[in-house]
Amino acid sequence: MQLTIQNIIPVPLKDKLLQRNADVWNKAIQFKQGEYVKIKAPSGTGKTTFVHIIYKLRNDFEGDVLWDNKSLSSITANALAILRQQSLSIIFQDLRLFPNLTARENIELNRVLQQPLYESNVIDTMADQLGIASILDQQASLCSYGEQQRIAIVRSLMQPFNWLIMDEPFSHLDKNNIDKATALIEAECKKRNAGFILTDLEDDEHFNYTKLLNL
């Protein structure tokens, strides 16, 4: 599955962004399946906006986003749900866990939203790898932000996908935990022959990126 963006630019930030020389805004770019894409940008320049646009959480932009040459602008609610269940997985910057569910239930939900890819014991295996096995049955709202971030990572890996979209996924993890998480993410992407788009503030060497862009 390939992602094509055609001259997208968010309407609220239009004037500000057109003054900058960016690699992504107002450009036509293709991302091929399996690419490891890193998008770097300082705070306030629209990383999260970009992620939300390609995941169709916001519509206030000019240009077009196409997944496999199908435009997001005319997609139906049910087709969008299928896209999100089968092809796109996401780790939000603000994590977006259900505070009233336990860590395990949050992960389980994303496992059973579609025909499950993994058995439920995979949750324990992955949680163990990221060091959150002990808090799996704790209510998500009571977990620390670092724990919640790892819950969100495991949740995103529970479903099938061609593209994993990550918005500053390691912001609250230490070096040790980042290494564990990147190893897990890379292994899961390889299993699916999938690529990812990762946004962050700074340069890093977490993955062997195939494409580096300044937003």
Partner: protein
């Protein structure tokens, strides 16, 4: 598994008391409507079933009401008869043909001597409630068979005979007494023998066979009074309000005893109509409360639903989940109501059977059909509400 998680996120228990109220309202509405349908169907059954129908209720003799204005000319015109024939409540119509000659009857027995001026009428045989092989006449017959009203004999036996110290007469005795019939013709009096062969509860007139009447009117008739003044109808519904309305509109009258059901029926109709209206209004309110309840449930889980959609839950999945939360309650209510109506119907059947009124001991097809229709209506309203509010939230 997904449903269990959704249950934690979309709490239908948020307005449990409201839900209970909505279900209670729905139950009452459902009960009133189904009971109305069942009562109506029972009443139809009592009215039209052969087992409990009064045989004389089928036939009505109809005539003009005699007022000071139409004395002497209270006859029915051909147009009026045709119009009556076309009414939906009339199955068959026959005219009572009057004799157009003068008749006298005298006894040929010395023991019971009498003479009286008399009259004859005739109706087609199919309207008679007397079935006897003696009811035949042709030109070679030795006597003219007659049918007289039972009421005549009763008047004689219990009124006239007792006050005049005359012997009471049985039906058999009267049938065995031949009488002499004197028909006045322009050429003088012609004599025939006549015999009573039966007694009618249906038609209060002295009847002779239609062939004799036709023959005699032709032979002796004076051409007077050609229009019939009475007709007899066979009706499917002697107590129908259509019939009563038609009669009073056209200034017609019939034996009111046979139409006595009309009064009861209008009361039952009023009760049933009230039940319908109340049930209908309650159903409307129950549907409204349900819709609001669904709206409330969805609104109170607005954030959860939005996040579920963000994570990839399809609106269809959420609709399915909500349907599974709401519809079983509706089905339970309809089934429970139907069971209660069935039990009551059994009680009604037992009670009425003791009074020789027969209705079936299980709910009518109409009641079951009504229950199914109401369930379908509820389902449609619920599904639409779920679809609408999920769509708005998503």
């Amino acid at each position: 598994m997904l449903d269990q998680l959704l249950k934690k996120l979309i709490r239908t228990g948020a307005g449990r008391s409201r839900n209970t109220m909505a279900l209670a309202g729905l139950f009452i509405a459902m009960f009133l409507i189904l009971a109305a349908v069942q009562v109506q169907s029972n009443y139809q059954q009592i009215l039209y079933s052969r087992t409990s129908q009064d045989s004389i209720a089928d036939f009505l003799v109809i005539n003009k009401i005699i007022t000071n204005n139409n004395v002497g000319e209270a006859t029915l015109s051909a147009g009026e008869i045709t119009d009556l024939k076309q009414q939906p409540f009339v199955e068959k119509i026959g005219t009572l043909t009057p004799s157009r000659f003068r008749v006298g009857v005298q006894s040929i027995s010395k023991q019971i001597p009498f003479y009286t001026d008399f009259f004859f009428e005739s109706v087609p045989d199919e309207f008679l409630d007397v079935n006897t092989p003696d009811w035949q006449w042709n030109a070679t017959s030795t006597f003219i068979p007659m049918i007289i009203p039972n009421m005549f004999l009763d008047m004689y036996n219990f009124g006239y005979a007792q006050s005049q110290h005359l012997p009471q007469l049985s039906q058999e005795l009267i049938k065995s007494l031949p009488v002499q019939i004197d028909i006045q013709t322009p050429a003088g009096i012609v004599n025939y023998y006549g015999k009573v062969v039966g007694f009618s509860d249906r038609i209060s007139s002295v009847l002779v066979p239609q062939p004799f009447m036709d023959w005699a009117n032709k032979k002796f008739g004076t051409g007077l009074n050609i229009q019939p003044s009475r007709v007899i109808i066979q009706t499917s519904d002697a107590s129908g309000s259509d019939l009563m309305a038609y009669l009073s509109k056209h200034n017609l009258s019939t034996n009111t005893e046979k139409t006595r059901f009309e009064k009861y029926r209008s009361i039952i109709n009023a009760v049933v109509a009230t039940s319908w209206v109340t049930g209908g209004l309650m159903l409307l309110f129950a549907l409204l409360i349900f819709t609001l309840f669904i709206q409330l449930t969805i609104a109170s889980a607005k954030e959860e639903i939005a996040l579920l959609i963000t994570l990839g839950a399809a609106p269809k999945q959420l609709q399915n989940f909500l349907r599974k939360q709401f519809l079983p309650g509706n089905i339970r209510i309809v089934v429970i109501t139907l069971i209660i109506v069935s039990v009551l119907q059994l009680v009604v059947q037992k009670t009425l059977a003791a009074q020789k009124i027969f209705v079936q001991g299980y709910p009518s097809h109409y009641t079951i059909a009504a229950a199914i229709i109401m369930l379908a209506l509820l389902t449609v309203v619920n599904i639409r509400a779920i679809k609408k509010y999920i769509g708005e939230t998503a």
